[in-house]
């Protein structure tokens, strides 16, 4: 019976985890910038959604979710993302996201997102390129 209890404890411990969020600032371009290897997991989706040929990661930050506290993710180029987890249900996270630059709030959103999923926010245009923010909830 003892080994069974241990197995149960290990099983429950393996499932008790804290999810985290990764925010990535991406430049989408048709000019010959090098395709970023860091974005290989997102590139097929980015190509499908935005149609550009090349994607470059300008900045990336991760933060753990939970505790109902706001996490600050500095992505460079003056862009900051604040994320607060309002609630979590199984593998779905209820998030409050604010994308800011300087004193300006570019976007505020509340969304429910499943783990291992991404949401893309198409931001400002720079020359012929676009700035895209990708938010991914990691396990």
């Amino acid at each position: 019976m003892r080994w069974l209890t241990l197995a149960l404890v290990f099983f429950l411990a393996a499932n008790a985890h804290a999810a985290s969020i990764q925010a990535r600032l991406i430049r989408a371009s048709n000019e010959s910038i090098e395709t970023d290897a860091q974005l290989k997991d997102l590139t097929p989706t980015l190509e499908k959604k935005f149609g550009y040929k090349h994607y470059q990661q300008l900045g990336s930050q991760k933060a753990s979710l939970g505790n109902d506290t706001s996490r600050r993710l500095d992505l460079g180029e003056g862009f900051v993302v604040f994320v607060r987890e309002r609630a979590t249900d199984k593998k779905t996270h209820d998030l409050e996201v604010e994308w800011t630059s300087g004193r300006a709030s570019l976007l505020k959103t509340t969304l429910k997102i499943a783990e291992k999923s991404s949401v893309f926010i198409k931001g400002p245009g720079v020359g012929n390129d676009w700035i895209v923010l990708a938010l991914t909830v990691l396990e």
């Binding site: 019976m1 069974l4 197995a7 149960l8 099983f11 499932n15 430049r27 989706t45 499908k48 959604k49 300008l58 180029e77 003056g78 862009f79 199984k90 593998k91 630059s101 300087g102 004193r103 300006a104 709030s105 570019l106 976007l107 505020k108 959103t109 509340t110 969304l111 429910k112 997102i113 499943a114 783990e115 291992k116 999923s117 991404s118 949401v119 893309f120 926010i121 198409k122 931001g123 400002p124 245009g125 720079v126 020359g127 700035i131 396990e139």
Partner: protein, 210 residues
């Protein structure tokens, strides 16, 4: 179990206690010297009685006695007798059926793990809605993906669902769009100031006012 209960020792010796009561009585017998002595005495008495059974004197011959028993059995053959069914304590039952308990628990673990694996792998459609909070512009987009079904027939779970989206930048609109083919949600912010390069974007956006 702090009080001395000699009858408990007797019941323990007779095997009348089961499960937790038996464990508690045994523990008490180990800890309480008086009850331990009572237990030893009773065991000693039982040992003596077992070694020296009382001689049985029969008034009848064995054949005559059996004929009386047989007659009695025949006379009572119509009487319904309710046989007592033994009742086991949960702990005793679990001890007796260890293999079944282990199998059931293993099956439960496998089932939960399979459910968990299925949940994390569930493909889904995305529903997106948008409600502009800012007084500048309001746009509401409600897609029809809520009604979309997976090819296998099950209702698709959205991977991301935008509940509310807004922007405070003047002349700017934020719209949440679901994706029918890529299983991703995109929030499209239109009307943000355009800049010719990254350096100018940094400067302009740092001084942007809402």
């Amino acid at each position: 179990m702090s009080a001395h209960k000699p009858e408990l020792m007797s019941a323990l010796l007779d095997g009348e206690l089961k499960g937790l009561r038996r464990l508690l009585a045994l523990r008490h017998a180990r800890q309480c010297p008086l009850c331990a002595a009572e237990y030893r005495n009773l065991r000693h008495v039982r040992k003596i009685l077992k070694a020296n059974p009382a001689p049985v004197a029969m008034s009848d011959s064995p054949e005559f006695f059996w004929s009386k028993v047989k007659r009695e059995i025949e006379s009572r053959s119509d009487v319904q007798v309710e046989l007592p069914s033994p009742k086991l304590a949960i702990l005793d039952w679990l001890m007796q059926h260890q293999a079944a308990v282990v199998t059931a628990t293993a099956a439960l673990i496998v089932g939960v793990a399979a459910l968990w694996a299925l949940q994390t792998r569930k493909p889904a459609s995305v529903v997106a809605s948008h409600q502009e909070e800012s007084p500048v512009q309001v746009l509401i987009v409600q897609t029809s993906s809520e009604l979309r079904l997976k090819p296998v027939g099950a209702v698709a779970e959205p991977l991301a669902k935008v509940e509310k989206v807004s922007t405070a930048i003047p002349n700017t609109v934020a719209t949440a769009l679901d994706s029918a083919d890529a299983d991703v949600t995109v929030i499209w912010v239109s009307g943000l100031p355009w800049t010719p390069d990254i350096t100018q974007m940094k400067t302009e956006y740092a001084n942007l006012d809402t």
